[in-house]
């Protein structure tokens, strides 16, 4: 095992880099990180639109969410892979294609987390915010979102974890991420695939487990802060 790690460790971590583009575990993290980083603000906008009374916002957002939730990521990936070059007349790298698919897909799922977080707050919070004279956006910014985002943390972490794992599917269009690298190792080694794929599983497990630990800590800290009898005044921010 030690020999195996020594031989392929760096390959698992970085793929063919620096000879080829950055891949392997780093590629997976970039794909998941950038994918979530871009889809998160999108999801907040779509989630808001989903809670809107105004059909101009509500209807397109709902179509977006229902359509994307109803089809597999793999299909979105194929669409992006074949359709985008067709439409734009330009070839996209497999990595950009995969990233686009992940952003589109995750924006729909995370938008529903945002919607549930906003709708899940007691109506009295919005009523109180509006009653003291705050406008709609002020209420959202100072009262609704700070609470709703905290309530969304467990669902978001769940979604982050599932996204990290879901990136494995993009090996199918030749993105040199972690699973793709493991396939290559397997092709080189030929024997002992169990070892190759146990190492692969281990690499996926680490960030997912890390995210879970992080979410426990955040929730615990916020829970403690909410019950504090004395908040140090320098922490007070509106």
């Amino acid at each position: 095992m030690f020999e195996f790690i020594q031989k392929y460790g760096l390959f698992y971590l970085l793929g063919g880099w620096p000879e080829t583009e950055m891949g392997g575990f780093a590629g997976t993290l970039i794909l998941a990180g950038v994918g979530l980083g871009v889809s998160f603000p999108l999801a907040i906008l779509i989630g808001f639109a989903r809670t809107s009374q105004n059909p101009v916002f509500f209807i397109p957002a709902s179509i977006w969410v229902y359509t994307l939730r109803g089809i597999p990521l793999l299909m979105i990936l194929f669409w992006a892979y074949f359709l985008i070059p067709e439409l734009t007349g330009r070839a996209m790298t497999p990595f950009s294609t995969a990233l686009a698919a992940i952003i589109i897909y995750e924006s729909a799922f995370m938008a529903e987390i945002v919607r549930a977080g906003i709708m899940g707050l007691p109506a009295g919070q919005t009523e109180a915010a509006r009653s003291i004279g705050l406008g709609y956006w002020q209420s959202m910014r100072y009262v609704v979102l700070p609470q709703a985002l905290v309530n969304m943390i467990p669902s978001f972490v769940n979604q982050f974890v599932s996204t990290v794992k879901a990136t494995s599917i993009v090996y199918i269009i030749g993105v040199s991420e972690l699973t793709f690298v493991a396939q290559q190792v397997n092709a080189i080694e030929v024997t002992n695939p169990v070892r190759t794929f146990i190492v692969l599983a281990f690499f996926y497990f680490i960030p997912c487990w890390g995210l879970s630990v992080l979410s426990w800590k955040i929730e615990r800290d916020i829970g403690a802060r909410r019950k504090a009898a004395n908040v140090p005044s320098k922490e007070i921010r509106i």
Binding site: S131, G133, G135, K227, A229
Partner: protein, 249 residues
């Protein structure tokens, strides 16, 4: 004529509200003078809360007019946030913002709605918390407070708007019995200072002490509007007589 306008804080005319075909408010009319304390009582489901919530437009109405401080609140030109900033509202469930300290709960409206500088808003918060007897809770989070304390903070938060009108929607109904008194004392103090208030409550003893007039509501209508003396001692309306005798048992 000008005097009546100046002395009238709230004027409600022929208010009606339907929930689909059910008539919750059925022709409510009434006037609240500046400095007056109106207590609204009546059986559950009589529309008391719905009525008081129409005054700051937490509830919309089907027909009728509401004039607050000389302006029709449903006027298209009247910004709803401006209207609400002139009305303090205290809820049954307190509705403090749990992610903000007591001080931030109180200073939020002065700072973000009235545009008050931070230091001035902090001083205002300190003053108001002292008024409701909670100076030492300035930096506490709402979850560390008892129900009665939370409701007193909610009153301070509403007072921070320096609103000419304060509305209370069953302010003690969600409290443990031993905490009712501390909240009522604060409201009574406001009454003595001449704050115009409308209070929905089931606390009849308190109503007798603070009310200038008691509006008795049943099935979406105001049946009687009378000073507490008449209301308790010579209730003419049989529905009021029944209500009062039910309260005693």
């Amino acid at each position: 004529m000008t005097d009546t306008i100046r002395d009238t804080m709230v004027e409600i005319r022929e208010l009606e509200k339907y929930y689909s075909s059910f008539k919750v408010l059925d022709g409510i009319s009434g006037t609240v003078n500046r400095g007056e304390v109106i207590v609204i009582c009546g059986p559950s489901g009589s529309g008391k809360s719905t009525m008081i919530r129409t005054i700051n437009r937490l509830e919309e109405i089907s027909s009728g007019r509401i004039i607050v401080d000389g302006r029709d609140i449903h006027d298209r030109d009247y910004d709803i946030n401006e209207l609400r900033s002139k009305i303090g509202f205290v809820f049954q469930q307190f509705n403090l913002f749990p992610h903000l300290s007591v001080k931030d709960n109180v200073t939020l409206s002065p700072r973000k709605v009235a545009g008050m500088p931070v230091r001035e808003a902090s001083e205002l918060a300190e003053h108001l918390l002292e008024k409701v007897g909670l100076s030492e809770k300035l930096n506490a989070m709402p979850a560390s407070l008892s129900g009665g304390q939370q409701q007193r903070v909610a009153i301070a938060r509403a007072l921070a708007q320096k609103a000419p009108l304060m509305l209370f929607d069953e302010p003690t109904s969600a409290l443990d019995p031993e905490m009712v008194g501390e909240v009522l004392t604060v409201i009574q103090q406001l009454a003595e200072e001449g704050q115009t208030m409308m209070i929905v409550t089931h606390e009849m003893g308190f109503a007798g002490k603070v009310a200038d007039r008691i509006w008795f509501m049943d099935r979406g209508s105001i049946l009687t509007q009378s000073p507490p003396g008449d209301f308790f001692n010579n209730p003419e309306h049989p529905r009021v007589q029944k209500f009062l005798s039910d309260m005693l048992h």
